[in-house]
């Protein structure tokens, strides 16, 4: 369902973020992207959600060829994906409920459906009692759970998490990873980018390891090993 075909991304001709990257992800998989900062994990994610375009190669998502999408086609495309970021990226002027509801509102879902779904999902991530709190009133772990609720509310085919635990302590990290596994069990593909060795080793799932823009390892039950 996700295919990278000889994808390269270079900046100004010489700085190389990715070089000749090839991989495929099937529906229902839980894949970790491992590697140091700057190895190219975030670039892969940006190319996948259409925030950036490859210098060479093609990126497919389902029936979409992402590198060919025009600006005005991106919003509709992104409603197939749920994205979770290291810095949460919640809307500061909206409370937890409204942040989650926003992902449904942008796709024009009726108010009735929204009012029914949002509390369910917030319950699922364990924030049923904090629906009216604004992001600055929530802890980091709670904010990330709101972000995950927002990413999954429209039942995307894939959830992409870019260093979702980068700003969290080990306790909250474990909580977030558990949540992602739960989402995966319900049938959603999960792509997790992280440099957290512990996270990857505990998962025992497929690991794609990147180093300086190259894929150096792609294993079904991977460990975090560099070089």
């Amino acid at each position: 369902m996700i295919v990278f075909q000889s994808v390269s991304r270079k900046f100004n001709g010489h700085a190389t973020a990715l070089e000749d990257v090839n991989f495929e992800i099937d529906p229902g998989e839980f894949v970790s992207l491992a590697g140091r900062s700057g190895a190219g994990k975030s670039t892969i994610i940006k190319l996948l959600i259409g925030e950036d375009r490859p210098s060479r190669g093609r990126v497919f998502f389902g029936q979409y060829e992402v590198n060919k999408l025009r600006d005005n086609e991106l919003p509709a495309f992104r409603r197939h994906i749920g994205v979770v970021f290291q810095d949460f990226r919640l809307l500061p002027t909206k409370n937890a409920y409204e942040n989650v509801a926003f992902a449904l509102e942008v796709s024009g879902r009726p108010q009735r459906e929204i009012a029914e779904l949002v509390p369910q999902v917030l319950d699922m991530v364990g924030l049923g009692d904090k629906t009216n709190n604004f992001p600055h009133e929530l802890s980091g772990g709670e904010q990330q759970r709101v972000a995950i609720a927002r990413a999954m509310i429209h039942r995307p085919e894939v959830i992409i998490a870019d260093e979702p635990t980068g700003n969290l302590d080990p306790f909250h990290t474990a909580e977030i990873i558990k949540l992602l596994e739960k989402i995966n069990q319900l049938g959603t593909t999960v792509l997790l980018a992280t440099h957290d060795k512990e996270v990857i080793n505990n998962l025992e799932r497929r690991v794609i390891t990147l180093d300086r823009g190259h894929i150096i390892r792609d294993e079904k039950k991977g460990k975090y090993i560099l070089v």
Partner: protein, 302 residues
């Protein structure tokens, strides 16, 4: 479609109230800009009245020799009235002139006696000519200079007041044009100030805009609430500027009356307050919407 529009308005109003400080600052700046705008509208009324009052003071009078028959003068009046430059011509007969003169000097014993001792009326009949435009007095004076008229005419006041009349005509012209230039200039300045204020307000929301896009919001759903926000700020600023102008006009109106008689600025203001409000609302809402529209645009590109 309806859901999208109602959500845009809903988000717009909510953002406005939740960004309390930012909205207040924007509204305050817009209010100042709209004060300038409203001031200009009132200023144009003041200059107009000033110009009219100056224009009304300018005329030329033609004094006829005492032996000119009244018929002849009335003929000349008619021929003057047919000139395209002339607005109106008033006839003052010798008897009327005397009556006015006596009335004006009723308390002056010496003059009353001197007049009474004369057998004949020493005063001359005159025509008071008003031009449609102050710059046209020269042409009218030239017409009066034609040889078939000069035989009846004793003096033409234009010759004596030529300098003053021309200077006043220039002032009238400059006030008219200068007023327009100042209006256009200040409206542009006010517009730019508002545009930049809104740009800054939206700059502080650029993160939010990128998040909205990542979540899959279409451009119109990202932009719409900001435009609604801008229009709302403009509307509130328009209302508050009119509320602020009212007491200012009330206090300066009597002082202005000293310079320009019968100006009645406050009267004009209170009778045109709705019209002024409509202008201010139109200006505020349009510029608020435009500024937001263009300010958001740069963050919508990927």
């Amino acid at each position: 479609m309806f859901t999208v529009i109602s959500r845009i308005f809903h988000f717009g109003f909510k953002n406005f109230s939740r960004n309390g400080w930012l909205s207040t600052a924007t509204v305050a700046i817009m209010t100042l800009a709209l004060l300038v705008f409203g001031g200009l509208i009132l200023f144009s009324y003041v200059t107009q009245q000033a110009v009219t009052s100056i224009e009304n003071k300018i005329d030329i009078s033609v004094y006829f020799n005492t032996n000119t028959p009244e018929d002849q003068i009335l003929n000349i009046q008619q021929s003057l009235e047919q000139l395209p430059q002339v607005a109106n011509v008033g006839y003052v007969s010798r008897d009327q002139a005397l009556a006015t003169f006596q009335q004006n000097h009723a308390n002056d014993q010496t003059i009353t006696q001197a007049i009474n001792e004369l057998d004949t009326n020493p005063l001359e009949a005159s025509l008071n000519i008003k031009a449609k435009d102050p710059s046209q007095y020269g042409t009218i004076a030239d017409y009066l200079n034609s040889p078939n008229l000069t035989q009846y005419i004793d003096t033409v006041s234009y010759a004596q007041n030529q300098d003053v009349i021309q200077r006043l005509a220039t002032i009238v012209r400059i006030m008219d044009r200068g007023g327009w230039a100042a209006t256009i200039f200040l409206v542009i300045v006010a517009g730019l100030v508002v545009f930049n204020t809104i740009r800054l307000a939206i700059y502080s929301s650029r993160e939010e805009i990128s998040v909205m896009r990542v979540v899959g919001a279409s451009n119109s759903l990202v932009r719409g609430p900001f435009v609604v926000d801008g229009m709302l700020s403009g509307a509130i600023a328009a209302i508050s500027s009119v509320i602020l102008i009212a007491p200012i006009v009330y206090f300066i109106s009597p002082y202005l009356d000293n310079f320009i008689p019968n100006l009645g600025l406050f009267g004009y203001f209170s009778s045109h307050i709705l019209q002024l409000l409509v202008y201010e609302l139109a200006f505020g809402v349009i510029i608020g919407a435009f500024s937001s529209f263009f300010a958001v645009r740069r963050y919508l590109r990927n």
